[in-house]
């Protein structure tokens, strides 16, 4: 599916507007109605253990939550407030020092109040992810209808 002008705007601005996503150097490389692709450039700060050279799980969770939030807005097709309700990570294999990390997230189902998202994370090959994730977001604006509006 081709990105709309809204998707292109999201891709350019979304990560830039968040202080922590900017701090981590996250870059959105593709955004469309199906989902989002975000790159985390490698840094020594991401290590969990300098000896083994494995990445810390925490920075992967930051990447996944950011990319999934972007996928939800892309799927809605408008900017609106969303909040993560829950997030589950499975660490399939270790990730190692030196390589940038990629995350692809797609929204499986969007309702008036909830978005269900799945994400995969890899370094070299997308078909060999080192982590997978499932997330649920709440559309917080939808939770509070204006006074007098029908539920």
């Amino acid at each position: 599916m081709n990105p709309t002008p809204f998707h292109e705007l999201l891709r350019r601005d979304f990560l830039e507007l968040s202080p922590h996503m900017r701090e981590c150097g996250l870059r959105a490389t593709a955004v469309d109605a199906h989902g989002a692709l975000v790159t985390l450039p490698y840094r020594e700060d991401w290590l969990g253990d300098s000896e083994s050279g494995r990445l810390n799980p925490g920075i992967i969770t930051v990447l996944v939550d950011s990319c999934a939030g972007l996928a939800v807005l892309a799927s809605i097709g408008a900017r609106e407030p969303v909040a993560t309700l829950d997030l589950r990570m499975d660490y399939l294999r270790p990730a190692f020092r030196g390589g940038d990390v990629q995350c692809r997230a797609s929204c499986l189902r969007l309702t008036a109040s909830i978005a269900f998202v799945r994400a995969t994370v890899w370094q070299e090959r997308e078909d060999e992810p080192f982590a997978t994730a499932q997330l649920v977001f709440m559309r917080t604006a939808a939770a509070r209808p204006p006074t007098g509006a029908a539920a």
Binding site: H20, N56, G58, I59, D65, L85, M89, P94
Partner: protein, 151 residues
Amino acid sequence: MTTVSSAWSEARRSAREHGDYRPLVALIPYARFLGMRAETHEGRLRLRLPFRTALVGNPNLPAWHGGVTAAFMENTALLHLLLQLDEHRVPKSIDFAIDYLLSGRPQDLYADCSISRLGSRVAQTQIRCWQSDPAKPIAVARAHFLLSVSA
């Protein structure tokens, strides 16, 4: 020459005997990047993450980046295990699941961890994160870790 395993034993000794957790946190580059502090509170290990703007996800509220809250809790469990057990490397993450209960306001985060099951290879941990009131967690999480196989 300082070997890697003696660095771990030194860090543990410093924490257990002198209540100085900095060497232990310093062995996890990402925990140091976040700025995690460890302290003993009422006989239990408690982790603190001082608020700073670079850790904000949503600048409009403002609120902590949900990924950072999760990352702080994952690393709380790792540090808890490193202190309680005699691991000579950072335990490997198997999975992690978090439920977000309240939005993270721009104040320090606190977290503690309990080990629900400790087998010879796998540990199951439960982590709680709060801000001003320990009785009102902003998130709860659980995680499994693979321990070093003893010789």
